[in-house]
């Protein structure tokens, strides 16, 4: 009975969605409402108005920067949720499956990881800083940083990783993205413009342009590093769940 009702509801919603997709404006048609209202303005004036030749970055950081601030807060909120429910990692008391495993990561794996991680992080920094001109930016770079640290943890184990990036330095970095965004926002208010305005009134064109570049850079770097550290912290918190008693070393 319950299953039948559920299937019926799902089928109803499915039929409705398929019908809606059929009725939608034809895909890729240049006369569609979504391509004739605000999008042309973004494409034509995005670079000069918003100060980023990558229009996607111009929209995320400038036209709809307030939304992106919210998105950054969502990521921060996800981390707080994980930490509030699972707690932080507890090193020393327990060890993970990886740490007690008889089969350690081999020398080949460890050496490769040791060589790869700096290169990956370097690439991530490039992605973050070049986001204004090419596809990429803080979110993507942050994911790459997070992935590189996760790779390192898989090869070297949690105690080694948490020794390299201790909790004390992670906590401020995790909030850094939200704080950077808000700081940029409040700077706008201080200069007498609206919240999250990048071009300050009353300054020479050159100075205003420099301030805008610096602010965008700070926000991108904030999102990138905070994102990477948040991924890392979530992973650390989850590893702990795989709890193994500390056994006397028999080897």
């Amino acid at each position: 009975m319950r299953k039948a009702i559920m299937l019926l509801a799902l089928a109803g919603i499915g039929v409705m969605l398929i019908y809606a997709v059929g009725e939608m404006p034809p895909m890729g048609d240049s006369g569609n409402p979504d391509k004739t209202h605000v999008a042309p303005r973004y494409l034509e004036h995005g670079e000069e108005e918003a100060g980023a030749s990558n229009v996607v970055t111009a929209v995320i950081l400038n036209y709809r920067g307030y939304d992106t601030m919210g998105e950054v807060a969502v990521i921060f909120c996800a981390l707080c949720a994980v930490v509030a429910v699972l707690g932080r990692e507890k090193t020393g008391l327990s060890r993970t499956h990886m740490d007690v495993s008889r089969v350690k990561a081999s020398v080949v794996v460890r050496t490769t990881v040791r060589f790869l991680v700096p290169v990956i992080i370097f690439f991530a920094i490039y992605i973050i800083l070049h986001g204004e001109e090419t596809p990429g930016g803080g979110f993507q770079g942050g994911a790459i940083i997070g992935a590189s640290i996760i790779l390192f943890t898989l090869a070297f184990g949690l105690p080694e990783s948490t020794r390299k990036i201790p909790l004390k330095s992670r906590v401020p970095l995790e909030s850094f993205a939200v704080i950077a965004f808000l700081a940029a926002g409040f700077t706008g208010i201080l200069f007498g413009a609206n919240f999250l305005t990048y071009i300050m009134p009353g300054l020479s064109e050159h100075a205003a342009e420099t301030i805008r570049q610096v602010m965008m850079m700070v926000i991108e770097i904030g999102i990138g590093f905070a994102g990477g550290i948040i991924f890392t912290s979530i992973m650390f918190a989850m590893i702990r769940e795989d709890k193994y008693e500390l056994q006397p070393d028999s080897s």
Binding site: P25, N32, M69, G70, F76, C77, C80, A84, V85
Partner: protein, 495 residues
Amino acid sequence: MSFSSHYSILLVAVPLAFAALCPIVGMWKRELCFPFSVAGAAAACFFIFSLWGKVISKGVVSYTPGGWKPPLGIQIRIDYVGLFMASIIGAVGLAVLVYSWRYVSRELDAEKIPYYYTLYMLLFASMLGFVVTGDIFNMFVFMEIFSISSYALVAITGQRRAVRAAFKYLLMGATSSVMVLLGIAFLYSTVGSLNMEDIAGRLAMGGYTSVASIALVLFLIGFAVKAALFPVHIWLPDAHSIAPSPISAVLSALVIKMGVLGILRIFFTVYTPGFAGIEGTWTALLQAIAWCAAISIVLASIMAIIQRDFKVMIAYSSIAHIGYILLGICMLTDKGLTGGLYNILAHALGKGCFFLVAGIIIYKHDLRRITSLRGLGRSMPVTAGAFAVASLSIVGLPPSAGFIAKWYILWGCLQKQHYVFMVMVLLGSLLSAIYCFRVVYYMFFVGSHSAEIDEGPATMIVPAASFAAATLFFGIFATLVLPSLSSAAQALLAG
């Protein structure tokens, strides 16, 4: 530009900043987290209440972060409804935050406490962001923040039951968020804009009405889950009863009202009443909400009566009250809408008080069964008294805020001559009298507890008692709020 013109953004940005800094403060000194977040919430309250003068004189206060004109950038648009909701969030949120200090310092592990306050401030800031925005995608972003933080706050004790309840809440909540997001996507494909007023203008130009009406259905499903309307209310009794009591109070008093506000915004600001092409769907859906709301009232009241657990009973009563609010709104008359909106206030205060009282009793005696509350009126006179006063409002007896709300809702039903709904509202009130006064009866008229006075801590008693006092205040001095609510209702009906 004066500093006061930025209040409309600061009321979101300042609590958000406090939330982001809270873990850092907690790393330095854990005890400072509480005063720190109280400062953030108090600052937000200051900004909210300072805006009333402007909204009364101008009707709508608009602000554009980044300075981009509305369809290009995001617009913050504070109208009567938005500021009314923001004021409730500010006041209730601050009081419950003060209340939670003693509660969480005993119930939670020390290392979780900074994250409790962080999540609480995120919840607080994002609800404020949700009610003041004039952009549907921005609304979705804030909806995600308050949803995720409330899932986490339900599960924060880490007990198995709590995690299970939170997971059920998460599954339903995530599905509803997807519905809202799909609705936004469909709507964007037909109008190419995300600003509410701009969408309303472009929808009026016609074209693709079938896609727009399906988007409306998706929005309704999504927000109905958030509001816990029958038949998608099933997550609420578990989540609201198992969460820590201050969180139950916030979830019941504020978070489910966000679903109601979402429905209001979509049905009255985005798809304005009496629109060509979508009118049929619009009316049919409102009829459906009205019937679901009426069924909610009766069914949830009956469910509340058969409960033995105090907090589960209060949780079921919340579903009934969401029914009253939505029923009043669906009458589409100024009286009905005013009653629905007034019940948001009355229920926030009354139900907030109920959960805070339940929290004090759990904190002091760890009692959850209704029959075990006997004699508490003698040993905890203020706590039990607050419950008795608040139950007047929940039942809807004069001279309480709940009476005014139900009076206007009935008036709205009468204007549209929906006699069936009137009967259901009255029946619901009768049933709520049974479940509320049963508890009052056990507290005051069945005695076994010692007569010695043994009250909870002052920081817990004062918020609960002030909520109870506020239900009486807003019942007697209803004329303080009613004029702005009827202008809100008229503005909504005018589209």
